[in-house]
């Protein structure tokens, strides 16, 4: 078990190191100069600026963007600032620091993601496991067909359909936003209900989207476990149906599902980000889009870095949980 933990932590550290270094390298590789972009935008408003002023602006911008000094110096100061959580001010809401914007948006994304991922993963495992065991049951077929259809649709598209039906045609749910306009965020029941009301459609899109593929995979796993020697022996011993279903089939099929979850975290995360744009949901996704539109270099960097760290950490957490699911790793 020790070797397992060490290897997972090594991967984690490498991911963070390589990922963040890539964040550093890529913008510099492409030769795009963020300072120029900003200066151009400012220049678009007026014809003439005192060159001295522009030089001064350029200097401070370069410092702000960490573009001063040699590459190595930049790299080191990059890491220094990162560890302090300082990404500089954002362009989108100058001079609000990037970290503040990220922290404002993060709870929305996290809340949405955590709930939907857990729900869709658990649901698909449960239903998929049962459907795999009772292969021939009448209710299994339509359920499978539904999942097959749904699996093909990226949930961003699914959400568009949902918006059309339940927001536009039959206005039950709001089309956008995290909460109603003009309402002040507070911890009152009213606000919470409002939030849930707004979060419903986005959440349902993600849940259905993830559920589809998970169901099919789990069903396959369940069928495979069903034909294992130990399941057959359980049937020989006449253990009751419930035990076989939960302790044998689902419990064993769960192992690769945990691994699959860890691997798909990145995709689930980015998919949710795209979804947020559709709903103008006030999470990291919408923030990222605004950053891109505004060529807000710092903000993009900030969000990217936090995303890499976030996804890597979540994966590591799942890696830590895995030994508790698989006794063969726990006791070597």
């Amino acid at each position: 078990m020790k070797t397992y933990i060490i290897s997972r932590v090594t991967v984690y550290l490498l991911v963070i190191f390589i990922g963040i270094s890539l964040c550093f390298v890529i913008p510099r590789l492409t030769g795009a100069d963020p300072v120029e972009v900003v200066l151009e935008r400012i220049g678009a408003y007026e014809d003439y600026y005192d060159p001295v002023v522009i030089e001064g602006l350029r200097n401070s911008l370069e410092e702000l963007y960490g573009l001063k000094g040699s590459i190595l110096e930049q790299y080191i100061s990059f890491w220094k600032r990162l560890l302090l959580g300082d990404f500089g001010p954002s362009l989108t809401e100058f001079p609000t620091p990037v970290t503040k914007l990220v922290y404002r948006a993060m709870p929305w994304t996290l809340g949405l993601l955590l709930v939907t991922t857990l729900v869709s993963w658990s649901l698909s495992n449960l239903v998929g496991g049962i459907a795999g065991y009772f292969e021939k049951a009448k209710w299994a077929k339509p359920l499978t067909a539904f999942s097959i259809v749904v699996r093909n649709i990226p949930y961003y598209i699914l959400s568009l359909c949902l918006v059309f039906f339940f927001s536009y045609l039959i206005p039950i749910f709001p089309m956008m936003g995290g909460y109603s306009i003009g309402v002040k965020p507070s911890l009152s029941l009213e606000f919470i209900l409002d939030v849930l009301h707004h979060a419903f459609l986005p959440a349902v899109s993600i849940v259905i989207g993830n559920y589809g593929a998970g169901f099919i995979v789990m069903r396959g796993l369940s069928t495979a476990v069903k034909s294992e020697d130990y399941t057959k022996f359980a049937e020989i011993m006449r253990l009751d149906r419930r035990t076989i279903l939960y302790r044998y089939i689902i419990r064993n099929a769960l192992l690769p599902r945990v691994t699959a979850l860890a691997i798909s975290l990145g995709n689930i995360f980015t998919g949710a980000l795209a979804l947020e744009v559709v709903f103008s949901y006030p999470g990291l996704g919408s923030l990222l889009q605004r950053a891109i539109i505004n060529s807000d270099y710092n903000l993009i960097m900030g969000i990217t870095t936090y995303s890499i760290v976030g996804v890597a950490t979540a994966t590591l957490l799942l890696d830590f949980i895995y030994p508790f699911v698989d006794p063969r790793i726990r006791y070597k």
Binding site: E228, D229, Y230, K232, F233, A234, I236, M237, R238, L239, D240, T243, R247, Y248, R251, N252, L255, V325, D326, P327, R328, Y331
Partner: protein, 329 residues
């Protein structure tokens, strides 16, 4: 049925249904087998691979999953005053694992990898005992049972992968004897184990039989196992019984040519003579030879052997052979 009998097997024909090129044909794994098993005996079933012994075990336990079908015949268990056949509705509930248990081949992999050993026992108890029971009581019973089979207490809290092959085999035997069944069907219980462990398992089975007065039916191709613990041995060939007798007689005084060749081929300490086995290979069960199935390989084959199938002839009260040459003497 004899008072002392516990299983009666009547003319069982159990085939595997195979569809190839849109035509239906049958692999005749067990082709007309009849015998009885008595209380408190160890009966061995021997024969080459593919002779039908494992299929016979499945039939005895009523495991008739497609493509295996019971075309003909019956297996009847005598329990108390009742005769329950495998075709009965209540066979599953009353006999399976309670009166008769089944240890399939390959016990390495029959334990649930994510469940502790004690949970295996608890689940067996829970699934079979109708009344609510106190977990602590059952746990005590478990511990005693485990220990009587030569296993340390730590086994109960372990997971299967933490145990060695021999220990896992013992656990499976423990599970099979937990509900004190009258019959235990063991299919190749010692294959894949080294000889020392093998001996331990066999002694264990012997001990169980003596203490619980149960019947054990062991299937194995290893004649050494039969020599060690079985009381009676039954030799099968190509889906049929060719000889059945007390084990001593099989080894010292057998009649069927196949059995003689089998026994003669076993190595004996001190003997330096060259060993010979039977020529050729076992026949296909899709299309068995006409008449006596052994005739293509039998050194004594005669005309009649090719045309008619021999039936089991009684040589002595407990010794039966299926061969035309024997009936004549």
């Amino acid at each position: 049925m004899n008072i002392n009998e516990i299983i009666q097997v009547n003319n069982v024909h159990a085939y595997y249904r195979v569809i190839r090129r849109a035509k239906e044909s049958y692999v005749r794994a067990v082709d007309g087998v009849s015998f009885q098993a008595s209380n408190s005996e160890i009966l061995g079933i021997a024969g080459e691979s593919g002779c039908g012994k494992s299929t016979l075990m499945k039939v005895l336990y009523g495991l008739l999953e497609p493509p295996l079908t019971l075309l003909n015949g019956d297996v009847i268990y005598k329990v108390g005053n009742e005769n329950i056949s495998i075709k009965d509705d209540k066979f599953d509930e009353k006999i399976r694992w309670k009166v008769c248990s089944y240890i399939p081949q390959g016990s390495m992999h029959v334990l649930n990898p994510v469940m502790r050993i004690r949970d295996h026992f608890l689940k067996v108890a829970k699934s079979h005992l109708k009344e609510r029971f106190d977990e602590k009581e059952i746990y005590e019973v478990m511990e005693k049972h485990i220990q009587s089979l030569g296993l340390p207490l730590e086994v109960l809290t372990s997971f299967p992968h933490q145990l060695s092959g021999g220990m896992r085999q013992r656990v499976v035997i423990a599970l099979a004897t937990f509900l004190r069944p009258k019959v235990i069907l063991a299919d190749e219980p010692t294959t894949a184990l080294d000889v020392v462990v093998q001996r331990g398992i066999l002694q264990l089975l012997s001990k169980i039989q003596k203490e619980m007065r149960s019947t054990i039916i062991i299937v194995t191709h290893d004649m050494g196992v039969h020599a060690q613990i079985t009381h009676r041995t039954m030799i099968m060939y190509a889906g049929k019984i060719v000889e059945i007798a007390p084990t001593r007689e099989i080894f010292k005084n057998s009649y069927h040519p196949y059995v003689r060749l089998l026994i003669d081929s076993l190595p004996v300490i001190g003997e330096k003579r060259r060993k010979s086995g039977a020529k050729g290979r076992p026949p296909s069960l899709l299309n068995p030879p006409s008449g006596c199935r052994f005739h293509p390989r039998c050194p004594f084959a005669e005309d009649i052997c090719k045309k008619k199938e021999p039936s089991l002839i009684k040589i002595s009260p407990s010794h039966y052979v299926s061969c035309f040459r024997v009936g004549r003497d």
